[in-house]
Point group: C2
Chain length 454, copies 2
Amino acid sequence: MADPVKNVLICGAGMSATDLIFYMLEHAEEFNWTVTVGDIDVETATRKIGGHPRGKAVYFDCYDNNIMEQHIKDSDIVISLLPPGMHAATAKIALRHDAHVVTASYASQEMIDMHEEARKKDLTFLNELGADPGIDHMSGMRSIDSIRGKGGELTSFESYCGSLIAPKSNDNPWEYKFTWSPMNVILAGSTGACYYEDGNLRCVPYHRLFENPKKIEIPGFRDFEAYENRDSVSFRKKYGLEDIPTFIRATLRYPGFCEAWNLLIKLGLTANNYPIDDSENMTYRDWVSSYLPRGNVNLENRLADHLEIKRNGELHKKLLWTGLLSERPITRNYGTPAEILLDLLLDKLKFKKGDTDMLVFYERIRYRLNGELREHVSHLVTRGIDHEHTAISRTVGLPAAIGAKLILNGSVKSRGILYPWTHEVYQPVLDELAEFGIAYSSSDTLLEDSVADF
Amino acid sequence: MADPVKNVLICGAGMSATDLIFYMLEHAEEFNWTVTVGDIDVETATRKIGGHPRGKAVYFDCYDNNIMEQHIKDSDIVISLLPPGMHAATAKIALRHDAHVVTASYASQEMIDMHEEARKKDLTFLNELGADPGIDHMSGMRSIDSIRGKGGELTSFESYCGSLIAPKSNDNPWEYKFTWSPMNVILAGSTGACYYEDGNLRCVPYHRLFENPKKIEIPGFRDFEAYENRDSVSFRKKYGLEDIPTFIRATLRYPGFCEAWNLLIKLGLTANNYPIDDSENMTYRDWVSSYLPRGNVNLENRLADHLEIKRNGELHKKLLWTGLLSERPITRNYGTPAEILLDLLLDKLKFKKGDTDMLVFYERIRYRLNGELREHVSHLVTRGIDHEHTAISRTVGLPAAIGAKLILNGSVKSRGILYPWTHEVYQPVLDELAEFGIAYSSSDTLLEDSVADF
């Protein structure tokens, strides 16, 4: 007997959705799915469906409740790649119409609050199943479970991830391109960060977060630097490591990025909480000069002096390369500093046709076992295949797609709000990702066998 | 013939509402008003009404649309002293039920967008009619109109206001108490500020806003310091001074406050965009230490060293006086840094029974007239009468009350969104405020008659 038909709705057909759409269509016949792809840009959705007989592109505006309802009401599962703020609204409609939900974003409080209702309706709302959050959670928990299974006691857990440009396309002074949501890059870190280190809670405010990035050397690969993610503290508990002395989740960049980005923060150009009046009558030079002290030396040197960096030095050149002090007109009116900065950098840091992106995951765990202190290290590097099948699309979309399949075919049985750090989810998803070549390399070494108190 | 009865609804019976309630009740008989005072704390509303036959206290929860609607629907005018974010929701209901609106807060975009609808329904939504915004707008525009009336050309407009503790109650090292919304004090300045100076747009990010306060000497009174308000730029236009080289609106504090407050900002303790997990299991000492580098010297000295201030110096003592490094337990769980800081300072900077507050307004305008450069300076200082009839209650509540009266008795005829910098509003309100002793002293002096380019 054939499976009854199941309707899959994918909300969002953007950069991260390509491989998700491909995967769902590829399995549509086998599992008797229909795959509806909704986006405000129907053309992109249509193109990505590529005429597949089980696929359908629809106009989907996540700010229009009627349209959302119209498409969600007949779905068995909704996979949401909408902006993070829109998942809860989507899930609320799904709840009314008995549809499961999968997202690749952090679960908001509003989402978490739907747990009981979803459970009662026999629905699974599976969150944080993308790249980061997602793959990092799954690998981390697999490693934790494995070490604990051997009787090990964890003393330190560090997890790093970066969406970067592949070395061959790394051709600008910032060594960075917008391989994922540009606005999220501009605002990254703006809440500051909290984490645990050697038993101490550490908090870093935004204006110091990029100041002293940590050097991260991935053995046999290359060097990176990292700044800590927003909220490592709550994940300590979620991972069941309440008492672990060190627990850090962080973001990777190529060396040198953070120090330069910190200058934009210090200038005040990443603020997103007030609009600049009349910005469209200014050039970037006018605008940036308003953040600099007045003086007799030229603006370029005033910028360097104000930021206490060397005139004509590398950092100074990096800043000027962006066009911050150029006569380029600002096109956006009443934009926030962050939005105005975004418009400038969109061109400069553009992920261009022919460019290849790269996702890097790195995990370092220390633990005691049989009187020894050991270190487990694993990393995963995956590069994009082409400009559509990017590393970000694969690492965000494939986990979400596999998660959706597992719910639809009954392999994932937990109901209510669910996360990928449960064995039921991480084991089959990581196994299947490995078939796509998305797999970690690990090593486990003896650090010391006489350290009393690490 | 008696006036037909008019129903006045006052939303909010807190600290700033006392004199508003008194004024409306005092004139209720004369103008045939009923005065309903709504608050979630009905007891306070009842007490402030004091058994007046035309007054009624009702339970009013501005987060409950049904309750709001129930009370607004029979009102002729709604005077909202609700939290700033709630005015637009109130106005929307008022629009449906044909009620005028008065607020003492900045008009939000949502409010501004109601202009046409309000105008069509013959309603006046009068905003920014309190102390600051309010009295500052009215005095400023009266001065501007007067100078222009003489043919003067303004070159500089500066307006300062502070809600402060009166000198006789100024008895803590910070020389500050919570005479108005404590949370607004904690978050003050967090959007940074933009203003115009000598023809240049100046923008200051939050982490630098309190660094170098401007010294303000009010002639014949005393010295203050000032940090710039959020958005002076848009008011340049609103006041009709599009091309004025210098335009600054700013906030006054006693000297020394800003430098100390800046240390709290630098530490990261005023951030309001992320919660501290498990905060209720910490002491203030635990919490603040998480923001400090580790080291061997004691925490008190590490605090001083990290902030680059003198150990045991005045600033260091000011910080420690707050109890930041005390073993006091944090009571709030999952609070933001700003909320946790608020809980600490609420006690320390409490406006106590017996304390007197003080509002200080200061305005400095430079202009050219007949080849001379002249300076117009005016200031207004008003102290509270007692712990209820505070300066803040009088300067916020009386303008709003008088504004409401002017709408109800037909003196203010403009419809739609209205502001107090129009002659129709500022002239009668300032005139009546003077009867309450709330009046400016002004001077006008010749600065120079040979300055070519000021």
